[in-house]
Every structure is written in structure tokens, then in C-alpha cells.
């Protein structure tokens, strides 16, 4: 009894420590947002402002086109996820199911593409998009993000499809489906958790991008994404950290909400491969 009490106390302390470590930056972002500017650099630091500036969120939204930026981010993220999922569902399924000559090395090649740092691709992509006249258009980052997302999601989905017994689509084919029909009617619904987890990964990747947006969109103010927009709030001489923090919170909020909403499926999706 005593030992198990000690044990659980230890466990709780550990969990609280880890949580504190993870949550503190978010908490600090929030405090920075609602503190008056002159209280940001006081020593010792204050963990709660005397007079919280609750109206900072409203102010920053009326000062800057944050909703437009969020809309652009959402469009880019949804577009690149849609494109990536279409490609990687088909590619992942094929890699999982069909024995193609060189399929193995093709899979490895895709994995290698995933290991290249995004910044390495910025310059070639810039060249391509300039030729296609896409610089400044949201399409540029939809395509650019897709090149980052597809290798990973293809691999992830292949792994997920591998865990689904082949007999399922064989049964569907005996029941009268074409191979594609079996995939659409049986394999995809069964893979819903995996698809959700994969799509969310892509969404977050696109949502949190800065490098590509900075390179391709800087000269097109109406197409700025949220991350790009926020960095323009940082002035050369004065930066209003309170406003920047408030805007950052507004940008983080949608992803947070999606996570909360999808959590149930995600946990299923992330552990589904563990037990056959």
C-alpha cells in the first residue's frame, strides 16, 4: 500500500513536470499577450498582469487583416492536404498491395525525398513557380507544401494499409467490386482513423510553414498566410510583442480545436498498426 502510494506520487510528479515543461511556453505567450507593454521586461517577471488587456485580441484583429491571413492559411492547408491525400492514398495503396518491379526501391526513394530539408527545395521551386507564373499565388504554396507532405503521408498510409488483411478486398471483389471499388468501399472506410491522422499531419505541416510562404508570397499582401502576416508585425525598431503574441494565439487556436475534435480518432489511428 505504502509502496504503491509512493509509486503513484512519483508518477504524478513526473507527469506534472512534463506538462509544465510543455505548457509553460504557451502560458507565457498568453501572459505576454495580455500584459501591458511596459510590464513585459520587469524583473522579477510577473506571472499574472495587474490589469490584463483582454481587449488585445479584438484590437489586433481590427488593426490587421488576421481573418484574411487565417483564411489564406486554411485555403493553402486544405488545398495541399487534399492534393497530398489523393496522391498518397493511391500511391500508398499501390505500394502496399501490388508487387511492382522496383517497388521496394521506389518506396525508399520516396523516403529519401522526405529527408531533404525544406529549405533545400526553396530555390528550385522558386525557379519552377516563376516559369509557371505562380509566384504570389496561393497555388505556389499548395504545391510546395504537397511536395513536403506527400512523401511522409504515402509512407504512413502504406504502413496503415499493410495492417489491413488482403482478404478484405478479396472478399469485396468476390462480392462484385472492381479492385478500385474494393478500395473505395471497403479499404478506405476501414482506414478512416489512419486517413484522419495522416491528413491532420499534413494540415499542421502546411499551417506551420513559414519558409515557403515568405519566399513565394511576400509581394502579394492579399495572399499572405497567417505565419507570414504575423512576422510582418515585427518592426525594425519597435515590436509590439503583446500584439504579436495575441495574433500568434489566434493562429494556433484552429489547430488546437481540430486536435481536440479529432483526438478520439487520432489515438485509434496512431495505435492501429500496433496490434494486428
Amino acid at each position: 500500500m505504502k509502496r504503491s502510494l509512493l509509486h503513484s506520487t512519483f508518477l504524478y510528479v513526473a507527469v506534472i513536470l512534463v506538462c509544465a515543461l510543455l505548457v509553460f511556453p504557451i502560458y507565457w505567450l498568453f501572459i505576454t499577450a495580455i500584459s501591458p507593454p511596459d510590464q513585459l521586461r520587469v524583473l522579477p517577471p510577473r506571472f499574472w498582469p495587474e490589469i490584463p488587456r483582454w481587449n488585445v485580441f479584438g484590437d489586433v484583429m481590427s488593426d490587421r487583416p488576421i481573418l484574411l491571413w487565417l483564411g489564406n492559411s486554411a485555403l493553402a492547408a486544405l488545398g495541399s492536404v487534399l492534393l497530398s491525400m489523393t496522391v498518397s492514398v493511391l500511391a500508398g495503396y499501390s505500394l502496399s498491395r501490388f508487387r511492382v518491379r522496383g517497388g521496394q526501391s521506389l518506396g525508399l526513394f520516396i523516403l529519401t525525398a522526405k529527408m531533404l530539408p525544406a529549405t533545400l527545395l526553396v530555390i528550385p521551386l522558386f525557379g519552377i513557380f516563376r516559369t509557371l507564373d505562380l509566384i504570389g499565388s496561393l497555388w505556389s504554396i499548395v504545391l510546395a507544401h504537397a511536395t513536403l507532405i506527400i512523401p511522409f503521408t504515402t509512407w504512413m498510409l502504406k504502413g496503415y494499409f499493410d495492417t489491413i488483411p488482403r482478404e478484405l478486398e478479396q472478399a469485396a471483389m468476390v462480392d462484385g467490386c472492381s479492385p478500385l471499388g474494393a478500395m473505395v468501399r471497403v479499404i478506405l472506410p476501414v482506414s478512416a482513423p489512419g486517413l484522419a491522422a495522416t491528413a491532420l499531419y499534413g494540415f499542421v505541416l502546411s499551417w506551420s510553414d513559414y519558409a515557403y510562404a515568405r519566399t513565394f508570397l511576400t509581394n502579394a499582401q492579399t495572399n499572405w498566410t497567417a505565419n507570414l502576416g504575423i512576422t510582418t508585425m515585427k518592426g525594425e525598431y519597435i515590436s509590439n510583442w503583446g500584439d504579436i503574441s495575441a495574433a500568434s494565439i489566434l493562429v494556433a487556436l484552429p489547430v488546437l480545436l481540430i486536435y481536440l475534435f479529432l483526438e478520439r480518432y487520432l489515438v485509434g489511428g496512431l495505435t492501429a498498426g500496433a496490434e494486428k
Binding site: 488483411p165 472478399a171 469485396a172 468476390v174 462480392d175 472492381s178 476501414v190
Partner: protein, 370 residues
């Protein structure tokens, strides 16, 4: 319903040939069991019949129609898989109705047929559950149900009972037989369990390494095995084998077993031939008989109603051919299976006997029955 004709089917995966010139005619309404050791090509043949694998060469006809190049869905067959392969995202009702829906049957008709099939199989109270909320036995029934609602030309079943526990397996075995009697649909059933094969089949096809060894009804299979492999495969415990050389005797040929001359019902022309002599464990009885020999059992296993007596074989009668029935018995032991034995049988020296008419003879080189 329809007959199935398999003509000269072969199947290779690259260098590996898993089916060699497989030909078989199955009559309308027949229940045929494919049996054989693991890896002999049973599932592969079934998948070729279903259209899930392509034959390297050969022709398949179902009901007189050449289906060799048709897609699985166009062959009008239903398949039951070893792991059931129920659609996890659909209810039992939708699982069973899926095939009909794919064929554009109207929903009232689907509902009627699903309900009827569910009643036959006793799963009508489970129709709105998902597969994961079913027991193994219930899943198995739903898988059968999914096959029968389609009212196909033929059923293909790939070891449908192997995931059930022993008791349920016996029960379901009887149910599938009853279902076959009731529906009369041509059925091909794959198993590696010879008891399933013996109890259910109209005809058994025994396979080994992709080659058909014998096609016969269960009785013939047991009484007149075509070769050593079939002899060892059918029967439990498997047939005992002895090495011997045929010698001329008075009036008939004979072999020496247990140091005795045993007359054979075989032509004297066999003289000098090396043979393998087979004798089923249940054909050895306690007490005196036409050929009597005294033994001291190496081991006695009692199952209550019967006893297995393990007996040493004299060195000159030991065979090198591997036992083929799946149980790796030692070449220096045979088993006598005594039905309803005396309680004391086997506790000391024992007199056993057999009737030479029960002996099977196989060529020692070709392993084919003589």
C-alpha cells in the same frame, strides 16, 4: 448451381511451380474437399477458381461457361475465408447484403434474403451489430451467411473452421454438411484436417506439392489408397509401414514380417520386389488370429474407449520413407489401436494378431499401390 470443370491448370510464381496440371470435374451439387499438407497449393487452387489469382495456364468452367478470364465478381461464386474477412465498418446486415447490393438487387429483396439466411444460421438477433462485437463462432456464421444470401453457383471455403475451438469446430462441421444438404450448392472446401475431409466430402482430392495424389470418395480413400502418401495421410493414427521383400511361397507370394512368413493375396510374379507393406493400426487386434505375434509394448496410451499400443519393429522391417500423415512417427515403432480393450491390456507382454487380407502393398521405389 453448376458443375465445375478444371482443365490442366498450372500455376507458377516465377521459378516456383505450385500447381502442376490440375484437372478435376466436379458434378453439380457435389461437396468436394481439397486436403493436403501445408503449402501444397490448396488455397492457390481455390483462389484461381475465385478469380483472385490468375492461372499460368489451363481452363476453368463453371456451369459450362468458360470463366478463366472473368473477374471474381462475374463468376457468380461465393467464398468463405479462413479469417472470415467480414467488413469491420459494416453491420452484420450490411455485411451479408453487400454482394447483393453490388449486383443491384433492390433493397426489399436484399432485406428478405438477409433475414432468411440469418434465420437459417441463427444470427437473426445479431443483424445490427458490428463484426467486432461478435464471438468467433458468430463471425463464422455471418461469413457463411454472406456466402449463402448470394445464392451463387458454387461455394468456395478456405479452412473456414480452423479458427474455432475443437468443440465448436465439430458442431459447425455438422452444420455446414446440413446446410449443403439443404441448399444443394456445389461446394469446394479446403482443409488440412483429414477428419473434416472424411466426414464432409462426397469426394476428396488429396494434394501434395501441387500434384493431385488421388481423387476418391472417403471410403475408397481409406480402403484403397493410391499410394504411400495417401495411405499415410488418411487415418488417425496413420498407417503403419514395414519394409519387406516379396518371396515366393506355397501358392501365393509372401513377405516376412515380425520374423514370420505372411502370405499375400498378390500374384507370385512380384517375387523379389522390394515393397512397403502397410497395415492400419485398427486392423491389429488383441489375441490370436491368422498372423499372431507376441510383443512387449514400448508405450501404452489409453483414451478410455481405445488404447494405442506402441510396438517395436524388427530392424529388417524398418522403413526409411518418412511418415506422411503429419505425425512424425519413428520408423522403428508401429501403433496398434485396440478398440474397447481389456483394462489390463498392455501392462505386460501381449499377443497381437492381424489378418493378411488387410495388408496394403506399395512399391518401395515409386510408392504406388500394387
Amino acid at each position: 448451381m453448376a458443375g465445375i470443370h478444371i482443365e490442366h491448370v498450372t500455376k507458377s510464381y516465377g521459378q516456383l511451380t505450385v500447381l502442376k496440371d490440375f484437372s478435376l470435374d466436379i458434378a453439380d451439387g457435389e461437396f468436394v474437399v481439397f486436403v493436403g499438407p501445408s503449402g501444397c497449393g490448396k488455397s492457390t487452387m481455390l483462389k484461381i477458381l475465385a478469380g483472385l489469382e490468375e492461372a499460368t495456364s489451363g481452363t476453368i468452367r463453371i456451369g459450362g461457361r468458360d470463366v478463366t478470364d472473368l473477374a471474381p465478381g462475374d463468376r457468380d461464386i461465393a467464398m468463405v475465408f479462413q479469417n472470415y474477412a467480414l467488413y469491420p465498418h459494416l453491420t452484420v446486415r450490411k455485411n451479408m447484403g453487400f454482394g447483393l447490393k453490388m449486383r443491384g438487387t433492390d433493397s426489399a429483396e436484399i432485406d428478405r434474403r438477409v433475414t432468411e439466411a440469418a434465420k437459417i444460421l441463427g444470427v437473426d438477433h445479431l443483424l445490427d451489430r458490428r463484426p467486432k462485437a461478435l464471438s468467433g463462432g458468430q463471425r463464422q456464421r455471418v461469413a457463411l451467411g454472406r456466402a449463402i444470401v448470394r445464392e451463387p453457383q458454387a461455394f468456395l471455403m478456405d479452412e473456414p473452421l480452423s479458427n474455432l475451438d475443437a468443440k465448436l469446430r465439430v458442431h459447425t462441421r455438422a452444420e455446414i454438411s446440413a446446410l449443403h444438404k439443404r441448399l444443394g450448392v456445389t461446394t469446394i472446401y479446403v482443409t488440412h484436417d483429414q477428419i473434416e475431409a472424411m466426414t464432409m466430402a462426397d469426394r476428396i482430392v488429396i494434394m501434395r506439392d501441387g500434384i493431385i495424389q488421388q481423387i476418391a470418395n472417403p471410403d475408397t480413400m481409406f480402403r484403397k489408397p493410391a499410394n504411400l502418401f495417401v495411405a499415410g495421410f488418411i487415418g488417425s493414427p496413420g498407417m503403419n509401414f514395414f519394409k519387406a521383400t516379396v518371396a515366393p511361397g506355397q501358392g501365393s507370394a509372401m513377405v516376412r514380417l515380425f520374423g514370420q512368413n505372411v502370405p499375400l493375396q498378390a500374384p507370385t510374379g512380384l517375387s523379389g520386389r522390394e515393397v512397403v507393406v502397410g497395415l492400419r493400426p485398427e486392423h491389429i487386434v488383441a489375441g490370436e488370429g491368422p498372423v499372431t505375434f507376441a510383443v512387449t509394448p514400448r508405450l501404452v496410451e489409453s483414451l478410455g474407449s481405445e488404447k494405442y499400443i506402441y510396438v517395436d519393429v524388427p530392424p529388417e522391417n524398418r522403413v526409411e520413407v518418412a511418415h506422411t500423415g503429419g505425425d512424425d512417427r519413428r520408423a522403428d515403432t508401429i501403433i496398434a489401436r485396440l478398440i474397447n480393450p481389456e483394462e489390463r491390456a498392455g501392462s505386460g507382454p501381449l499377443t497381437l494378431s492381424f489378418d493378411p487380407a488387410r495388408l496394403h502393398l506399395f512399391d518401395a521405389q515409386t510408392h504406388i499401390a500394387i
